[in-house]
């Protein structure tokens, strides 16, 4: 009786085999155990042996082809036997049979558990590799369990100590209250204490823990239940009014008002803000930009500039100087644009330190005009010129080109109508200024020519939403279109 020769399973992990070479040809006599073909498995090249005696009647899978386990690769039979039925069965169902076999094997593998386990002892087994791939363990694995666990414990205690203790916080800068609970910090409580408190209806936020790092432990709950030792939060916290005030000022020595970091206030990042920040970062890189463009009528600004330069023939106030001044003033009205996204807080700067992009021969630098909001246009003009000169001479000190709260880049002199600039972190925005050009516009139903200038604000979306940026641009536009607002 003719027998089908199937792609044999030659290793525990084999799923398919490549028929690399036939060792017998059609018509050859074969006996049980005789090698029929060479098969490339996932492990090695192995011989497939005949499991029946007879003549190799038909080769169904030519050398070089890969077929799944169980696929019929040849037929062995008597020399004169009719094997047409087997051939047609094979050609119609070979792939199907292979698939079925594999599914069956997979199911069986799961049921018996053996193949998986065995695979793990096979040196080249894929699963073995999978188990050893993975993150390398950091640190010294041989480190003593005892000391390392102690070290961990010590660190934990240290961390807790380094956190400002509730009292320290309240007696420090002012507001705060029961730091951990009131400000949403982690409440440290032992499992039994948590359960006892829940059962007794005690608000854990009302308790002060007596365990390490302020951990609320069983005895604290027992004390609260007996109404003795543990004090309600109210007794320990400062005035609720202060507590509810979300912001606090950091004291800044006034002498250094124009140097170093601008004074700022910090607001804790809300969950929503943190979420927005996190999501935007993952979508657009470290600083998610949005761009807002507006067109400003600059005729009046140009007039003011002309008049200023008339007043003082020595001064050479530029339109850009005027833009710096106006931007600084507008920033004071829109603190979000004059801010910086810190990891857990947003810094709102109290003055406008404007970075002015200066093109160098082979690069770019942004010297900073400090407190531009409080300086006159003439002052700004002189400072910019002086800084730009020294910038080109590479003579700026680091604190003269770092620490801006906002930047302006003007490419109008290059005839650029409009462009976008990249924010200079950690600033929240940068203003890209295009060329001022006369263009026809419709005013009061009349076509007239006006000096138009396009500006584009790039905003860090983590702190500046579209509307916030737009409002800032509105103010900027309003003042530039009517510079009298500067003194209004």
């Amino acid at each position: 009786m003719a027998t089908q020769v199937v792609m044999p399973k030659l290793s525990p992990t084999m799923e398919e085999g490549q028929l690399s070479r036939w060792l017998k040809k059609e018509g050859d006599k074969v006996g049980v155990g005789e090698p029929l073909a060479e098969i490339d498995t996932d492990k090695a090249t192995m011989e497939a042996q005949a499991l029946a005696t007879g003549v190799l009647r038909k080769i169904l899978v030519p050398a070089g082809e890969t077929v799944p386990l169980g696929a019929i690769i040849a037929i062995i039979g008597e020399p004169d036997e009719d094997i047409s039925a087997l051939i047609s069965e094979a050609s119609s169902g070979a792939a199907q049979a292979g698939k079925k076999e594999r599914t069956e094997e997979a199911t069986e593998g799961r049921a018996y558990g053996a193949p998986d386990e065995l695979a793990s002892v096979v040196p080249e087994g894929q699963r073995t590799q999978a188990t050893i791939e993975g993150q390398p363990i950091k640190g010294d694995v041989g480190d003593t369990a005892n000391t390392s666990s102690q070290a961990v414990a010590t660190n934990a205690v240290k961390e807790q100590k380094e956190q400002p203790a509730p009292q320290a916080q309240t007696s420090g800068a002012g507001a705060g209250g029961n730091g951990q609970s009131a400000q949403g910090g982690r409440l440290v409580v032992s499992p039994i204490a948590a359960r006892m408190a829940a059962e007794a209806g005690i608000n854990l936020h009302d308790l002060k823990g007596s365990g390490p790092g302020g951990r609320i432990v069983k005895r604290d709950i027992e004390a609260a239940m007996s109404g003795a030792a543990a004090q309600p939060a109210a007794a320990q916290t400062q005035a609720p009014a202060e507590q509810s005030q979300p912001t606090q000022l950091r004291a800044v020595p006034s002498a250094s008002a124009n140097l170093g970091v601008a004074p700022y206030r910090e607001e804790t990042v809300t969950t929503m803000r943190a979420t927005i920040a996190r999501r935007l970062v993952t979508s657009l890189g470290p600083v998610p930009h949005i761009f807002l463009t507006t067109e400003i009528e600059m005729d009046r600004a140009a007039e003011v500039r002309r008049q200023l330069n008339e007043l003082d023939p020595d001064s050479k106030v530029s339109i850009n100087d005027l833009i710096i001044k106006v931007a600084a003033v507008a920033l004071m009205q829109h603190p979000a644009v004059n801010s910086s996204y810190q990891d857990k807080a947003v810094r709102f700067y109290e003055r406008a330190d404007i970075g002015v992009a200066v093109a160098l021969e082979n690069g770019l630098i942004t010297p900073v005009v400090r407190s531009a909001n409080t300086k006159s246009v003439g002052q700004i003009s002189r400072e910019v010129k002086e800084l730009a000169e020294r910038a080109r001479a590479r003579k700026l000190a680091p604190d003269e080109y770092t620490g801006a709260t906002f930047s302006i880049s003007n490419l109008g002199m290059f005839g650029i109508d409009e462009f976008t600039a990249i924010i200079n972190p950690p600033e929240a925005a940068i203003l890209a200024v295009g060329a001022m050009t006369p263009r026809p516009v419709v005013r009061d139903g009349q076509v007239v020519v006006r000096q138009l200038m396009r500006v584009t604000l790039s905003c860090d979306h983590r702190v500046v939403d579209g509307a916030t940026g737009a409002r800032f641009l509105q103010t900027l536009k309003k003042i530039l279109e009517n510079p009298l607002y500067l003194i209004a």
Binding site: A145, S149, S190, P191, I192, A194, S210, G211, V217, K218
Partner: protein, 330 residues
């Protein structure tokens, strides 16, 4: 009740079981003519003869496997390792044969064998002779692991182990062979495997201790009582099966646990107990479970270093005070 040493208690257990059951025999290095390296088998050769009390060559793998084979066909061997450090040579037979035979044969064979001998530290015998191996043997399903801490437990548990139909690793402690205690009279006295013992009741904290650490824990508990701390001491007595229920009940009462052990902490029995407490009694804990283990270094020879390597009464006291939040943070 007579007051006897743990050595005598173990001797009694073997003697009584050998009297009771002809199929019980003792084999090991120096168990017969020498009367036992630690004299645990003293007098047995005289009473039972050299067929049942057999001096083996120094061939741990060989006689451990011989015991398993004999147990497969119905004998009840007691295989003594002069110390369990030497059982490391026999782990193939203990783990691959004894622990697996019943399972691999689909339940056709049982392996009623006891491997016994001293485990853990002695005095100044350095690294190769001071190891506590309970976590090794407890790791494998198929083995039972026993660690007595009193003469009474030693006797009752060894008798149960000999009568048990499964392979039992019976871990004694050389430093405790001379410890005395009351042992109930009569050859019917048995202590069941898998049952923990509350060695001392208390309400503020639980010390889970085994073998050598039990007397240490009891001393620590007495000291803590003077300081106003009420400590419960639990001795699981068998590591496999582990009576976690008794431990959990204690934790539910005291909410604080110290596990004291001679063996290394890493992947140890203390780690297992801590994990099970976390799994079964998380909501009852008032402090993280504290493990007090042999240090993570081989045992040194020098006396001062050796003393530092193992938990002692003072450190147990300190650990209990720590979980009970009694000391200011340093």
């Amino acid at each position: 009740m007579a007051v006897i040493t743990m050595r005598e208690a173990l001797n009694q257990a073997m003697r009584e079981e050998m009297q009771r059951d002809e199929s019980v025999f003792l084999m090991g290095e120096e168990v017969a003519a020498y009367q036992g390296a630690y004299k645990v088998s003293k007098g047995l050769l005289e009473e039972f003869g050299d067929k049942r009390v057999v001096d083996s060559p120094i061939t741990e793998l060989g006689f451990a496997g011989l015991g398993v084979g004999a147990a497969m066909v119905g004998l009840r061997p007691i295989i003594e390792f002069m110390t369990f450090n030497f059982s490391i040579l026999a782990t193939d037979q203990i783990i691959n044969s004894a622990a697996k035979m019943r399972y691999m044969s689909g339940g056709q064979f049982k392996v009623p064998i006891v491997f016994r001998g001293p485990n853990g530290s002695a005095f100044q015998v350095s690294s190769q002779h001071s190891q506590a191996l309970e976590s090794w043997y407890s790791h494998f399903p198929g083995l039972k692991v026993v660690m007595p801490s009193t003469p009474a437990d030693a006797k009752g548990l060894l008798k149960s182990a000999i009568r048990d139909d499964d392979p039992v690793i019976f871990l004694e402690q050389e430093r405790m062979y001379g410890n005395k205690g009351e042992v109930p009279d009569g050859s019917d006295f048995l202590v069941p495997l898998g049952k923990a013992d509350v060695k001392r009741e208390g309400k503020d904290a639980t010390i889970v201790a085994r073998s050598l650490m039990v007397p240490f824990a009891l001393k620590a508990a007495a000291e803590l009582e003077k300081q106003g701390v009420s400590v419960e001491v639990i001795d699981p007595r068998t590591i496999r099966p582990l009576d976690i229920e008794t431990i959990i009940n204690s934790v539910k009462k005291t909410n604080r646990v110290v596990v004291a052990e001679e063996s290394h902490a890493f992947c140890g029995v203390g780690a297992e107990i801590s994990a099970q407490i976390m799994e079964h009694a998380f909501d009852y804990l008032d402090a993280p479970v504290k493990r007090l283990s042999g240090v993570d270094a081989p045992m040194p020879y020098a006396k001062n270093l050796e003393r530092l390597a193992l938990p002692d009464v003072e450190r147990i006291v300190k650990a209990v005070r720590e979980v009970a939040y009694l000391d200011e943070e340093g």
